[in-house]
């Protein structure tokens, strides 16, 4: 069995031996993306399990081991880990945990430390935690994030973004219920196989996959009836994870809406761009600037591939990062980078522009950056574009679902009224036009 080794500060390391013997547990956030990306790890010889557990016990476990005023995502992610460790399903002496770390100025950079504290409290001190980050924090001999791995993960993200976008645009209108979900699952398995074999990440492979994915969705039979279009923005975990937002996507679907969740690639671009903006604002290292720029360009290429392929088959493409960014020029500074930063404000403007002005802005209760970029900017967004119909929803273990849904329903009631107005207006112009055509003939 692998020996437990510690670094100078007393951090338990993930060793090479552990790589052979251990299973790494991954927390769930965005199911499509994470299901594809985990195969990158498999390809590089890591055994992983993606936790798909749900239910109220997870929050309960979280409450027990994490400071209750900590943000909800930390509570859930840590709760999910410990719940899994206590379930008896895993050999707790041969398991490691992996968690992302951004290194930004918000509380999220501390999740990994809160997780370690919680493990200690729960008696799992022997379990190593691996930090997944692009900043070179916390090195481990048994796990190194290499450039090829980053490239593959980036590919996974862009596939995920495309599948999520297409499913969201097709599912509400499909004639045979379940078609789109089946297609998503088919693609997850196709891409997983490619990833396992180390394929599917070069520029040409991506272009052809992206194209084929978009085309395949045109084969689903649909009936395009007018529906309320809702955009979802927010703190990244609560935005994507059903566990965090009480199944928000499903609720909106049940209410007869088409949902638009801006993709994860935009967030990645934002995080890299922050380094460039920092240097622009405060001065700094030229080399860092060049590296960040190169990464920007690479991600932008992937984004372009996504935009081109979905546009080609008549779907609504996401707006390009550069454009999204331009929307907040003069609204909020590019220096506001903690959490989702100005991107959150920008996404609300972008969604409104694209016809998804009915927006749920989701955040954990007491989310600090969202006081600024979310709730703090709603008023300004409305003054810029009065089509914006935004409701801010707080999530935490004590916030009951009824209240959340009731507030969302208020937003939807206004949205439906606007939709009906719009429909009757188009109908009027159409009838008018027909009349005119008739009179002309």
């Amino acid at each position: 069995m692998a020996k437990l080794e510690y670094d100078k500060t007393g951090r338990l390391l993930f060793t090479k031996e552990m790589k052979e013997e251990y299973t790494i547990l991954l927390p769930m956030m965005a199911p499509i993306h994470f299901n594809i990306i985990r195969n990158v790890f498999t390809h590089y010889g890591y055994k992983t399990v993606l936790l798909d557990t749900e239910g109220p016990e997870i929050a309960q476990v979280g409450l027990k081991y994490v400071h209750n005023d900590t943000c909800y995502p930390a509570l859930l992610v840590i709760g999910q880990f410990i719940h899994a460790l206590q379930s008896g399903k895993y050999d707790v002496n041969k398991v490691a945990l992996m968690i992302t770390q951004t290194g930004g100025g918000c509380r999220a950079s501390n999740y990994i430390h809160l997780l370690r504290k919680a493990l200690k409290k729960a008696g799992f001190e022997q379990i190593p935690v691996i930090s997944l980050n692009l900043s070179g924090m916390e090195k481990n001999s048994g796990f190194t994030l290499t450039i090829p791995m980053i490239r593959r993960m980036a590919a996974g993200l862009i596939y995920g973004d495309e599948l999520m976008l297409l499913r969201n645009q097709v599912q509400p209108y499909e004639l045979n219920v379940g078609d789109s979900q089946k297609l998503v699952e088919k693609w997850i398995s196709v891409l997983s196989k490619q990833f396992e074999k180390g394929k599917g990440f070069t520029a040409s492979e991506i272009d052809s996959n992206m194209d084929e994915i978009a085309r395949s969705f045109t084969e689903i039979k649909i009936n395009k009836v007018p529906k309320v279009k809702v955009g979802v923005v927010g703190e990244i975990y609560v935005k994507y994870a059903a566990l965090g937002n009480n199944n928000l996507e499903r609720f909106l679907a049940e209410q007869g809406c088409e949902v638009n969740l801006p993709g994860i690639m935009g967030f990645m671009l934002f995080k890299v761009d922050n380094r460039i903006e920092d240097i622009k604002l405060y001065g700094g290292n030229k080399i860092k600037y060049t590296i960040a720029n190169a990464l920007m360009n690479y991600f932008t290429k992937l984004e372009t591939s996504l935009i081109e392929s979905v546009k080609k088959y008549g779907f609504v493409p996401p707006s390009a990062y550069v454009h999204t960014k331009s929307l907040v020029d003069g609204v909020i500074g590019f220096g506001s980078k903690m959490g989702e930063g100005w991107l959150l404000t920008a996404e609300m403007l972008e969604l409104t522009e694209a016809g998804y002005g009915n927006i749920v802005c989701a955040q954990p209760f007491g989310c600090l950056p969202n006081h600024i970029n979310g709730k703090g900017m709603i008023r300004k967004i409305k003054s810029i574009d009065d089509r914006a119909n935004i409701v801010a929803i707080d999530y935490d273990p004590g916030a009951p679902r009824v209240n959340q849904e009731n507030r969302i329903k208020l937003m939807l009631a206004v949205a439906k009224e606007n939709l009906n107005k719009e429909l009757s207006e188009t109908q009027n112009t159409e009838t008018k036009e027909t009349k005119e055509t008739v009179s002309q003939t």
Partner: protein, 965 residues
């Protein structure tokens, strides 16, 4: 014909409209959570009483109506939307609607860009809140309204959430404030809460309409709205039925009475709720449990005609007053458990009279009082000793279990827990204002559901599926209970679930434990709430260990006080009022303002028969001793005076304003010097007060943000009102790198609050707000970068000037830090020489603002303790590994300060935490760990808009008692 049902949190309203939209039939009833039953009855009544109802259309609205509507296939109309439809139909031309319901507050802006606002999850409870307050004052709603009309003065009551307000009101009552003044103050708080929480920067003007129960039934509340909004709103006929009428207007599906009534009766919810194990397997297990706990008893003796020595202990708690009389051999002669309807004085008087009546020849040799009402009772009745509650409870618990390791007391309104180490109180946990839902919380629920607390608790004992309700505050709990009912939980399940939630709240929110190992195995539980067997059982289950609950669980505070009096000597005689003095007892209350410093505390002056006076409401001893506290040992005073020394100096570039909020408390020396050097006349907004806050509170977009951030709005407005046309308030992601942490960020709120100001305050549109991003952490790059920014506004500024100004600014900042550090050394040295305790009253730079710290520094100084700050000691420590990512400059100072004092006997750390500070969820645990590793006691004080210092005082006194200071 159209029917609308509005199923709210506490009532069901029904409206039937004819084809011309005339209201032909309406009902308004409380449903006591029996929603389906009541709804069935109402529908039957409609069918019976309204002609033509069979062909009517129906729709449901209201916060509790969603589930029923869904399961009965009836249309559901969101209630705010329904209000809007009704107002547009019946009151065209309305600009703004203000509607208060049982638990909701809403503002609808109808004209000029329609907007609807509902209270956020945190600000719940308006109607229910007023109900609660009325029951606290022991009056009904009508009387409450009448009381408010007779007010003379108003008190400031926290206007964020019901629980906060309650903690403000209770001490006022205990200090003898007039009910009418309190009633009016509550109305003022409700109005503030609604306006500040919901208007969010939008002016409420034009034709204003008031709707909903509270505004219909309480004209004084409407008057208060009129006053604050400077308008004359109207409360239309049928103001209770607007939601129901709106639903009716939206109804377009015909009702099939038979099917609907049938479905409603069968509606039992999904049965799909999270639940816990039953409290007891069976009757037998319950009986064993009862018999085990009956063993922790005390000896009794009849007081009738008792002539011997006796000791009296009184616990004047927040909702109850407890009194005991003990004999010399600790026999319980007499005890009384009385509910406190606001003022403890008459209750204690009755208690003493009864004692003298039963035993006219009793020889009282010692007496002690503890609890919220300690001071007033001690003064009113000349009680010998006043002791802090924690000490009283520890004394009592030791009597039952000499080697007790952990004591938890859940009372009506507060939770007190403490660990015992080496026979002394070691670690104290008190509930923060947010999680005050304890005993009175169960009581409130029982009453709301139509039961007495005893009946309600008994119901939970054998519940099959106790609902899992989590561990949140009362406001949240209301909604969780609603959800559980919707999902089909029975009253039994809910009762058991609430008992569990009280326990979980105490364990995981207040104590923050993960299990019994941390707390020790020797546990004594006490307080009135533990007399409830369901709570006791839930506690044992959650801890997985049996505990001792004394039979006199509810009297432990008083019992401990009596024991304390006994320990002070048995041969003395008590100064407590004699039978004769008691007969002449008189108590007059007058309210006034202190005016001896800028806090201007509202004082309650109590005068007793023999002319003795007792003053309450004061934060320091000044109004009593007429002397200011010891100067020179309070770092907070010093820091404030340093900041006040930066005065405007005339400059050729004109005036520029700096708002004194958030990090300006740290950056003032820097920016003042920088801008003065650039020939600006630098004007600050000065120190905060209530008026400053009121200037800006209508423009706060997020009601759950920390209070220091909320204050910034007022400071900006004050500058604008002063005629300042240029305000300098830059965004700062990064702070100075003091080399203590892994990074040197500001928290997101401090970093970017200027953005919120720019986006939400209309008034800044008419001035220049310089809120660009600056990086003071890169000293070399700073002049060039900041010069580019300034040149946008002042093209004539040169880089040379800026470089010079920067040098001066950095130098002044360093000099400022040095002044603070030198003063720190001086205070520590002097305190050591004088043998004083030293507290590091730590927090953030802006906690120096007296409006934010509420004079806690002065209160502590009043105990003769010297006060230093985290930034005056943090430089003594080198960077060291922490178990959290140490990435915020201000917070790194906290860790360093904790480390610094950890091995110093004469120093302790008290951390001030602003409510809603997410970052402190991380720092508090870490600071605690650092201190506890070295065997130090960690003390945290949560502060908000709240002004009640009662709980803070208990904490500080307990800490002083524990360290023997």
């Amino acid at each position: 014909m159209k029917i609308g049902l509005d199923i709210g949190s506490t009532t069901i309203k029904c409206a039937v409209l004819d084809d011309n939209n005339n209201l032909t039939y309406s009902t308004y009833e409380r449903h006591y959570s029996q929603i389906t039953q009541k709804m069935g009855e109402i529908l039957k009544q409609i069918r019976l009483n309204v002609k033509g109802a069979d062909k009517a259309c129906i729709a449901i609205s209201g916060s509790a109506g969603m589930g029923v509507a869904e399961s009965c296939n009836l249309d559901f109309i969101q209630e705010v939307y329904a209000t809007r439809v009704a107002v547009n139909t019946f009151l065209p031309g309305t600009d703004v609607v203000i509607e208060l319901g049982g638990e909701d507050a809403k503002i609808l802006f109808l004209s000029g860009g329609m907007e609807v606002r509902m209270n956020g999850t945190c600000a719940g409870g308006t109607g229910a809140f007023i109900d609660q307050m009325a029951s606290l004052l022991n009056v009904d709603i009508e009387r409450f309204n009448e009381l408010a009309a007779q007010y003379e003065k108003t008190y400031t009551i926290a206007s964020r959430c019901g629980v906060f307000a309650k903690t403000d009101i209770q001490p006022l009552l205990n200090q003898g404030a007039r009910k009418s003044d309190i009633a009016q103050s509550i109305f003022a708080a409700v109005v503030n809460q609604t306006v500040a929480g919901l208007a969010q920067g939008r002016e409420i003007e034009g034709k204003v309409v008031y709707l909903g129960g509270p505004l219909t039934f309480m004209p004084e509340l409407r008057k208060q709205f009129d006053k604050v909004l400077d308008t004359k709103g109207t409360c239309p006929q049928n103001s209770l039925y607007y939601v129901a009428m709106g639903a009716a207007l939206c109804a377009d599906n015909t009702i099939d009475f038979k099917t609907v009534i049938n479905k409603i009766t069968k509606y039992a919810g999904s049965g799909n709720f999270a639940f816990n194990k039953p409290l007891f397997k069976d009757k037998k297990e319950y009986e064993e449990f009862v018999s085990r706990h009956s063993r922790a008893n005390v000896k009794g003796k009849d007081i009738q005609g008792y002539k011997g020595k006796a000791f009296i202990g009184i616990d004047a708690g927040s909702t109850t007053v407890k009194g005991v009389v003990l004999s010399e051999t600790k026999e319980l002669l007499f005890s009384k458990y009385l509910s406190n309807s606001g003022n403890p004085v008459p209750i204690v008087k009755d208690f003493l009279e009864e004692v003298y009546k039963l035993a006219p020849k009793i020889n009282i040799v010692g007496s002690a009082v503890t609890g919220y009402g300690e001071e007033i009772v001690k003064n009113a009745f000349c009680v010998d000793y006043g002791i802090v509650e924690t000490v009283a409870h520890f004394t009592a618990a030791k009597d039952f279990m000499p080697d007790v390791e952990f004591i938890i007391d859940i009372g009506g309104q507060d939770i007190k827990c403490f660990k015992i180490h080496n026979g002394a109180i070691d670690n104290i946990f008190l509930n923060e204002a947010c999680s005050s839902g304890c005993g009175s919380f169960l009581q409130t629920f029982a009453n709301a559901l139509g039961y007495s607390i005893e009946e309600f608790a008994a119901k939970g004992l054998f519940a099959k599926h106790p609902v899992d309700l989590g561990s949140r505050c009362t406001v949240f709990m209301n909604s969780s209970v609603k959800q559980a009912q919707k999902d089909g939980a029975t009253i039994e399940d809910i009762s058991a679930g609430l008992s569990l939630s009280v326990v979980k709240n105490a364990l995981y929110k207040v104590i923050r434990t993960s299990g019994p190992d941390e707390l020790g195995k020797k546990i004594v539980v006490q307080g009135g709430t533990f007399l409830n067997n369901a709570v006791l059982r839930a506690f044992e289950m959650e801890m997985g260990t049996p505990v001792v609950r004394p039979v006199i669980s509810g009297l432990m505070g008083a019992y401990g006080a009596a024991l304390y009096a006994m320990s002070c000597g048995t041969d003395t005689s008590s100064s407590i009022l004699t039978k004769k003095q008691l007969e002449e007892f008189k108590h007059v209350i007058k309210v006034t303002n202190c005016g001896m410093c800028q806090n201007n505390c509202r004082l309650t002056v109590n005068t007793f028969a023999d002319g003795r006076r007792f003053i309450a409401g004061n934060r320091c001893e000044r109004p009593i001793t007429k002397k200011s506290p010891e100067k020179g040992l309070n770092m907070y005073d010093y820091k404030l005076s340093l900041l006040q020394s930066y005065k405007p100096q005339e400059g050729s570039r004109g005036k520029i304003g700096l708002p004194m909020g958030l990090n300006m408390y740290e950056m003032l020396p820097f920016w003042h010097t920088f801008l003065t050097s650039l020939s600006f006349e630098v004007v600050t907004s000065g120190i905060s007060d209530k008026k400053v806050y009121a200037k800006g509170n209508k423009t706060i977009p997020s009601d759950t943000i920390c209070f220091p951030a909320k204050l910034v709005h007022g400071h900006i407005q004050k500058l604008i009102d002063m005629g300042i046309e240029n305000i300098f308030y830059p965004c700062m992601s990064y702070n100075f790198d003091e080399g203590l942490g892994d990074n040197h960020y500001n928290c997101p709120v401090v970093a970017y609050y200027p953005e919120v100001i720019g986006a939400n305050m209309n008034s800044v549109k008419n001035i220049t707000l310089i809120k660009e991003y600056v990086g003071i952490h890169r000293r070399k790059d700073f002049p060039k970068k900041v010069c580019e920014i300034l040149q946008k506004y002042y093209p004539d500024i040169t880089l040379k000037e800026v470089k010079k100004a920067s040098e001066a600014a950095y130098a002044e900042y360093e000099a400022h830090l040095k002044r603070i550090r030198d003063k720190g050394e001086e205070i520590i040295k002097r305190a050591e020489d004088e043998g004083r305790q030293i507290f590091v009253l730590s927090g953030r730079p802006y906690h120096v603002d007296p409006e934010i710290n509420h004079g806690i520094d002065k209160m502590i100084a009043g105990f003769g303790v010297a006060i230093v700050t985290e930034d005056s000691v943090s430089h003594h420590v080198d960077k060291f590994p922490t178990t959290v990512l140490n990435q915020w400059t201000y917070h790194s100072r906290l860790y360093a300060a904790a480390r610094y004092i950890a091995d110093k006997d004469n120093m302790n750390l008290v951390q001030l935490v602003s409510f809603g500070c997410g970052v402190d969820a991380i720092t508090t645990d870490e600071v605690r760990d650092i201190l506890e590793k070295e065997g130090k006691i960690y003390t945290q004080i949560k502060i908000d808009e709240i002004t009640n210092l009662g709980a803070v005082k208990i904490r500080i006194r307990s800490l002083l008692a524990a360290i023997g200071g």
